[in-house]
């Protein structure tokens, strides 16, 4: 029985994995099939709004190949993610999008991108920049963001030639809350080693890029089978256990490597994973439009925000304790200033906690893969030597 349930969930997760594989190619096919795909640069943008207007919000997950066109216009010191994004635009691979919404007032590379895009990329040409306040507190920040969301709403209404209906927004809100709930449930299972974090990663990517109704059906069905398959409480994830920190953790290769080397990921602080589905990200379905700005301000801070590092360090410490992690892998994109700054304080905090950590500067195509894996191997070996008891001496639970 359990085997049947496991097989069923595996098949469903495999299907989700297919949806997460090469999302921008899939986006083009969906656009050809008549879906109106809206590119979203930042996962903090409220997806419910474009969804309620009949669009498919699609976070821009980049193809893992080195840029060849963007070096014509962008210097090498520009954030590598922005270089890769512009490259894909210049190659025409994002032409299926009906528009892109950028997150402005974030980092300097991203802030300058729309202007460069307009002069170097033909399609999509409908660009919008939604500005976030850098400080997440106070009435002034709240009202500023509310006004920004209203302007974005108007721009989206013009794009689709329709008016936002409250009932549709409420339906979209309930749908996205359910997706987040499912992802949280999946994360709990990953935390106990019942599924790999790569499964969660694929589910998160699919749920940020693909038509959501289909993803939710698959996710809920897979979770149901998986829950039935687990008859007893999970014993806890095997060692060594690590937490990942980074911006967009979209590389299946990295997580697959960790899992192949019997490293369990027990949590993350990343822009594309848990921050997108934390409970604070849920919206009040009864008044979602008013709640969007409040939601942004109550969410865990991302590194572009002021005073994010100390709050992130505190949250990371909890994630480490909760997952009984023995190490942390910091994965900043080369050229990403906000993460590079925050990582200094995160590293200090980890040193104080006595948690081993490694910083691997990466780019979206994971260039220098050999060097990355060599350093990871050394780190994992070192973690094997640290042992669970050294970090968690008071805990009754031994090593699984």
């Amino acid at each position: 029985m359990h085997t049947m349930e496991s097989l069923a969930s595996e098949a469903l997760f495999a299907r989700i994995g297919q949806l997460a594989d090469n999302p921008m190619e899939r986006m083009s096919r969906l656009a050809t099939d008549g879906h109106r795909m809206l590119g979203m640069v930042c996962p903090n943008l409220p997806e419910e709004l474009p969804h309620a207007l009949g669009l498919v919000p699609t976070r821009l997950v980049l193809r893992p190949t080195p840029p060849t066109r963007s070096p014509e216009v962008l210097q090498t010191f520009c954030c590598t993610w922005v270089q890769a994004l512009l490259d894909q635009g210049m190659r025409g691979e994002l032409a299926g999008l009906c528009g892109i919404t950028f997150a402005c007032n974030t980092c300097d590379s991203l802030q300058n991108l729309p202007d460069i895009w307009r002069r170097t990329v033909t399609q999509p040409s409908t660009l919008y920049s939604l500005r976030f306040p850098v400080q997440g507190q106070g009435q002034a920040a709240l009202e500023m963001l509310q006004a920004e969301i209203q302007l974005w709403r108007q721009s989206l209404e013009r794009l689709v030639g329709d008016v936002l209906e409250p009932a549709r927004l409420e339906r979209s809100t309930r749908l996205f809350n359910r997706i987040r709930g499912a992802l949280r449930q999946l994360q709990q299972l990953a935390l106990h080693g019942e599924v790999g974090y790569s499964v969660l990663q694929a589910a998160a990517i699919a749920s940020q890029t693909h038509p959501r109704e289909e993803v939710l059906d698959l996710l809920e069905a897979a979770l149901e089978h998986l829950t039935r398959a687990s008859s007893s409480p999970a014993p806890g994830a095997p060692s060594p256990r690590v937490v990942l920190v980074g911006s967009y953790l979209d590389h299946p290769r990295l997580l697959q490597w960790l899992e192949q080397h019997h490293v369990t990921v027990v949590g993350d602080d990343s822009c594309s994973l848990s921050r997108t589905f934390e409970p604070e990200a849920d919206l009040d379905p009864t008044d979602p439009l008013a709640d969007m700005a409040r939601r942004h301000l109550r969410r865990s801070p991302c590194p572009v925000q002021l005073q994010s590092a100390a709050r992130r360090a505190a949250a990371l410490s909890q994630t480490i304790r909760r997952g009984r992690a023995e190490g942390v892998v910091l994965l900043p994109y080369k050229g990403c200033e906000p993460h590079a700054f925050d990582n200094v304080i995160l590293a200090q905090s980890l040193d104080q906690l006595g948690v081993p950590h490694i910083t691997l500067e990466i780019d979206p195509h994971l260039g220098g893969w050999g060097q990355i894996t060599t350093r990871l191997e050394a780190f994992v070996e070192m973690l094997d030597g640290v042992g669970d008891d050294e970090l968690y001496p008071d805990s009754q639970a031994g090593r699984p």
Binding site: D108, S109, D115, I116, P133, Q135, E337
Partner: protein, 426 residues
């Protein structure tokens, strides 16, 4: 380059002696301020200094200090001190230099800046300052006020002005609380009027460079901008710019240019100066008869570049904050000026300003410093170069460097690029 060789090409400004004395007094004051129990604040270059200055709080500027360290060629060492503490070498060199001076004061000129009582930052110049100043607050354990003035690609919508206005109104009680100094509308009015007058005089000096030969070169302006950045609103800054304007006008009367050789080419400089080679670089151009009558950097503190009027005649009309402070009018005026600066606007705006500079100053070409430490200035420069040439027919040169970290400066390639560019212009 030796001082003697430099003086053969440059016509030294007499007022530079006053400038040196003024900045020496200013730095001395900042050094003794803690012993005199005066309150000090560190500010970003785009922060509204008129408010703390009117409250008797001594301003200090890590960016200005970064320029000083760069010019003294200790920037690399200080950047490395920050890198040794985990800061990426890809981060802004002003930030690394500044943090490095905290970690290695023994290697820092003047042993670094004096410890501040408060930090005041404004992200109108870049997003980097948000994180850099967060780290300063973390290291120094002093309170930070962040004035958030979001970037706009086109016209600034009213709600962003409201947002900045409310923050400025909040800054006053915040400063009072953290420094114990009282805000006086009357005193603010005095400082604001002096600030406006200082900016007007600085604008005049910049505008007088439309003359042929140009009375000032970029190097002159890079050095003379220090008071308008750091202590605009003070009597001493005002006095200095009166002196400078008088000297510039005297040069015009005598037909004296900034360089001693014939001025054959007039160029636009874009971006922050390359501080460790500020004289060497200009002299390479000057030897070929090229001067920079205008630049986008020193114009950033004019506060009044009014492209809405279709010209770049700065200093015309009343500055918006010259009226005595009466919230919210005073705060809104400040909000407008400090939100709409050159770097806080999109590429269209930058192109319009540069195009007008090229026409108004009758330039022959332009030089873009691709500065790896300043993304707001540098990203998009390849596009700007093509577009500016298309609009004006003038050629452009891109020089890759960094404002403080000389490890990114190719001393073989840059002179060769300049020589080729000057040949093209000839």
């Amino acid at each position: 380059m030796s001082d003697r060789n430099r003086e053969q090409i440059y016509r030294p400004l007499l007022s530079s002696r006053s400038l040196k004395a003024l900045m020496k007094r200013y730095y001395l004051l900042t050094k003794v301020a803690p012993r005199l129990r005066l309150k000090t604040a560190w500010l970003t270059s785009g922060a509204p200094v008129e408010l703390p200055l009117s409250m008797g709080i001594i301003p200090q500027y890590p960016e200005n200090y970064g320029a000083l360290c760069g010019a003294r060629r200790v920037g690399v060492e200080l950047c490395q001190a920050a890198e040794a503490r985990g800061y990426s070498p890809d981060l802004c060199s002003y930030a690394r230099n500044d943090l490095g001076s905290l970690f290695a004061p023994d290697r820092a000129p003047l042993s670094g800046l004096s410890r501040p009582d408060v930090l005041i930052a404004c992200n109108n110049i870049c997003g980097t300052v948000t994180k850099w100043w967060e780290h300063l607050a973390h290291e120094l354990k002093v309170p930070l006020f962040m004035l958030d003035t979001p970037f706009t690609e086109a016209q600034r919508p009213p709600h962003l002005l409201d947002y900045a206005t409310r923050q400025l109104e909040a800054m006053i009680p915040w400063l009072e609380r953290h420094t114990g100094r009282r805000f006086s509308p009357r005193r603010f009015g005095q400082v604001a009027r002096r600030s406006a007058e200082t900016i007007r005089l600085w604008n005049d000096c910049l505008d007088l460079c439309t003359a042929r030969p140009s009375p000032l070169n970029s190097t002159d302006r890079f050095l003379c901008m220090a008071p308008v950045v750091t202590i605009r609103g003070s009597r001493s800054a005002l006095g200095f710019y009166r002196l400078l304007k008088t000297e510039v006008m005297r040069r015009l009367e005598r037909g004296e240019g900034a360089i001693t050789v014939e001025e054959r080419r007039r160029l636009l400089w874009d971006n922050i100066a390359i501080w460790y080679d500020v004289f060497g670089l200009s002299s390479r151009f000057a030897r070929g008869g090229a001067v920079f009558p205008v630049d986008t950097y020193t114009s950033a503190w004019t506060g009044l570049i009014d492209e809405r009027e279709g010209n770049i005649t700065r200093g015309a009309g009343e500055p918006v904050w010259s009226a005595e402070w009466s919230a919210p009018v005073g705060a809104r005026g400040l909000a407008r000026v400090y939100s709409d600066i050159y770097l806080n606007r999109g590429m269209d705006s930058k192109l319009r300003v540069m195009e007008r500079m090229i026409r108004h100053f009758e330039l022959d070409g332009f030089v873009l410093h691709s500065n790896r430490s300043c993304k707001p200035y540098s990203l998009g420069q390849q596009v700007i170069r093509q577009e500016l040439t298309r609009r004006t027919g003038k050629p452009g040169l891109v020089i890759e460097a960094d404002m403080v970290d000389s490890r990114h400066y190719d001393t073989q390639r840059v002179p060769s690029q300049i020589a080729t560019f000057l040949e093209v212009l000839a």
